[in-house]
Subunit: 464 residues, 2 copies
């Protein structure tokens, strides 16, 4: 997922996105795209490189959670692939980070209607220990209802927080309904709960719970925290409607595994003019453990790599394109942050991230200095034939380039259609078969178009 998911950021994103509508695809009288760019764009609509990358990474590595041996396998795999594609300066940059590892997980309604429920522990969840926790459950229809009860009132109980998330094209419903996951466990812990179950932050109706990271404040001991699949949460709501006390037996045994190695994979298309700066494009190599991370984020890895290769194959660009395949995004952007710390003194002039699946791009947003505005206009013009409209709000970047975005460098968001993203996000169902090859190609075409323009633009992309 592209957006920075800390609650405040999520909320401000929501406020911005609430009024955002796609602009008409082509302003009246706008010039058509440069013929060379148009040719690159249209050729990319037949791209097979991106699908090959997704297929390879999800098949030959599969799930690759942060700071595990599988994530290390992904780095080795990516280095070999990027070298084979012809990139320069392909390398791994490692860092250490705290690792969290899933254990057993089982939830059973004990009373009034005994039956199992499908759950997945949230990242950073505490453990029940091997001995099941059996406790009364208190139902909160929304995170606001949980927030409203007095401190200490949940002592020894399991909180169940539901939500009514609906799909949105721009993904903004994640910011609203995701709060149950982002902050629900911390709130429940502070109110004394023994554990928390949330309705998955998802828009599907399958028995595949949505995991994802949660965070406990310093000084708040992590409690067991897990997501019920959407059908299971609905079932539990129906059980509550009967008005009888509800007891659940819970086993959730993840563990914190100390500091482990993670890393970024970096590759370059060297530019002819070092003084023109670096264009950093990024997606993340790690995935959650439940699926094979096809849409999150093998797709992003594939899209940025395939597009950069197309520019490379078209001849040396003016600016260096640096592909940063970040590690450990899912659990707190450790890779993106490590990259920033290591490279912040190099001249980065533009950044863009792909981390919202593989469905088609429908909108482009810019955060450009005045000097770069003509470049943005040329990009919007060249993207219009792909069905992409120019947005009305500034680009916000994503988790893996957040620190660079914060410095004020030029940022582009090629916004993907999120309508079905949260059917799959962080579930076992995030697998290769969910990638639509035609929509994936449209992504590659849009990225190729954008990179072809920004990598060669004569204008400065730096604020004066």
């Amino acid at each position: 997922m592209q957006k920075i998911l800390l609650p405040t950021a999520a909320l401000s994103f929501l406020l911005l996105a609430g009024t955002a509508l796609a602009a008409p695809p082509l302003a009246t009288g706008a010039p058509s795209a440069d013929a060379g760019i148009a040719a690159l764009r249209d050729a990319a609509l037949k791209d097979d490189v991106a699908m090959d990358i997704i297929e390879g990474l999800t098949t030959e590595v599969g799930p690759r959670p942060a700071a595990t041996a599988k994530e290390a396998d992904a780095r080795v795999w990516a280095v070999a692939k990027l070298k084979a594609l012809g990139f320069s300066n392909v390398r791994i940059e490692t860092y250490m980070m705290p690792a969290w590892v899933r254990g057993e997980e089982e939830a059973t309604i004990v009373a009034p209607f005994p039956q199992k429920l499908a759950i997945a522990a949230l990242g950073n969840s505490g453990s029940t220990g091997k001995k099941p926790l059996e406790a009364e459950v208190v139902y909160f229809p929304t995170i606001g209802d949980l927030q409203a009860v007095p401190d200490g009132s949940l002592k020894g109980k399991i909180a169940f927080v539901s939500n009514q998330m609906a799909a949105t094209q721009d993904g903004s419903s994640y910011g609203v309904y995701g709060m149950a996951r982002f902050v629900g466990p911390n709130i429940a812990a502070k109110k004394g709960a023994a554990a928390i179950l949330i309705k998955s932050v998802g828009t599907d109706h399958h028995r595949v719970p949505h995991t994802g990271v949660t965070r406990f404040e310093d000084g708040v001991a992590p409690i067991p925290a897990a997501a019920l699949s959407v059908p299971d949460a609905e079932q539990l709501e129906r059980v509550f409607k009967r008005g009888k006390p509800v007891t659940i037996k819970l086993v959730v045994t993840p563990r914190f595994n100390g500091k482990q190695e993670s890393g970024n994979v970096i590759a370059e298309v060297p530019g002819s003019d070092p003084s023109a700066g670096i264009i950093m494009v990024t997606g993340h190599l790690d995935s959650w453990d439940l699926g094979t991370g096809a849409i999150d984020d093998a797709a992003g890895v594939a899209i940025v790599s395939a597009a950069a290769k197309r520019i490379m194959d078209a001849g040396t660009p003016r600016r260096t394109i640096r592909v940063v395949l970040a590690g450990a995004e899912e659990v707190g952007s450790f890779g993106g942050n490590a990259y920033y710390e290591a490279h912040k003194n190099e001249l980065h002039v533009l950044t863009s991230e792909s981390d919202f699946g593989a469905d088609r791009i429908w909108r482009v947003d810019f955060a450009f200095p005045e000097t770069g505005k003509p470049v943005a206009e040329r990009i919007a013009t060249a993207l219009a034939p792909l069905g992409i409209g120019k947005g009305e709000h500034p680009a916000a970047g994503g988790a893996d380039n957040a620190l660079f975005v914060k410095t004020g460098i030029a940022t582009i968001d090629l916004q993907q259609d999120g309508t079905r993203y949260f059917d799959l996000h962080h579930t076992a169902d995030d697998t290769l078969d969910k990638v639509d090859p035609q929509q994936l190609r449209q992504n590659v075409a849009a990225w190729t178009t954008m990179l072809g323009i920004v990598a060669n633009a004569p204008e400065s992309l730096i604020a004066k």
Copy 2:
């Protein structure tokens, strides 16, 4: 699932269904339906009883596998519900049967690309024991490929049998592709395999494996047999395409639990003319253990009960309607067979089963004696406004009335649309949210129409 699923029956069903096309909804010049029947039919389009039954059974009992305490809970639940609805002679009839109980199940690719696969043991599967079985896997694209290898050639290996099932409205693809499950394990065992994995007999793309019963011939020791979810099977096929040896570690620990009690729940709408015989309508109370059995077959239970209640509420019918909610259908029609043995000497004149989900009825098939042909015509006429066409082939009945159908009594199949049935069939995803209330009501309306006509028809329904 409605059809008798022994391989030979499945194949003959396929041959029949292959050429079946829906007849035009209303033959030219056909009389319109009796006004009383039309009124019953149209009122049933607002039915809420069926949804209430599905909601109650799936929520308050949930999964209810054959010959378990949960199936017993379902009988108690059904008796209370049918009494509350006003049925007469509501009772449980028990029988003993062999019970099979799921254990742990876990499959992991050990080489060449380590990762977990989602599996579910098939009913009657053998056990690996607690110690994992680690063995080389041999890939068979189809059941025919497995059949073709020499006896003994799979010694110590795990067979993996795939299939390419596609959705069909009439469900006929189940007969073809289901063979991997129906007979694959028995064939693999006879060829010396240590275990078998099959691609789920399903048409979805979710990480929810499709269980279902398999059978081993007398004298063939059950081997561990499990279904991979469709995405997992596709993943394994991609792994095989790399051309390297594939090793899987498998734990499947179901057990045979001796003879346990199961039972049928029976309820009646007593008729005014005992000599006119009994109309037996049936669905099954048991479900697989993975889901809550909403479409398989709480829906059938609900549809036949709701329709029978509507006839009851309209006044005493001529013929007795007997609702038989069978136990233990999933594992071999033990309930339907026990009912037949106990009641075969009573005068049953017509039978019909609902066991193919809750989606709309699109075709009606009859197997009627000559004397009953005018009744069949009246039914077809009255069903036409519901979008139901008369089929060209004889009704075949289902698993729970198979022995009665075999005696030659009048049979009606109200064929449901199976296009999405095998997305859900025998998976954890068979839950309440999959039931479309409007399509469910159309089912109740069709059943009410049919029962209203056959229960009161002055014609004989018995072959002279």
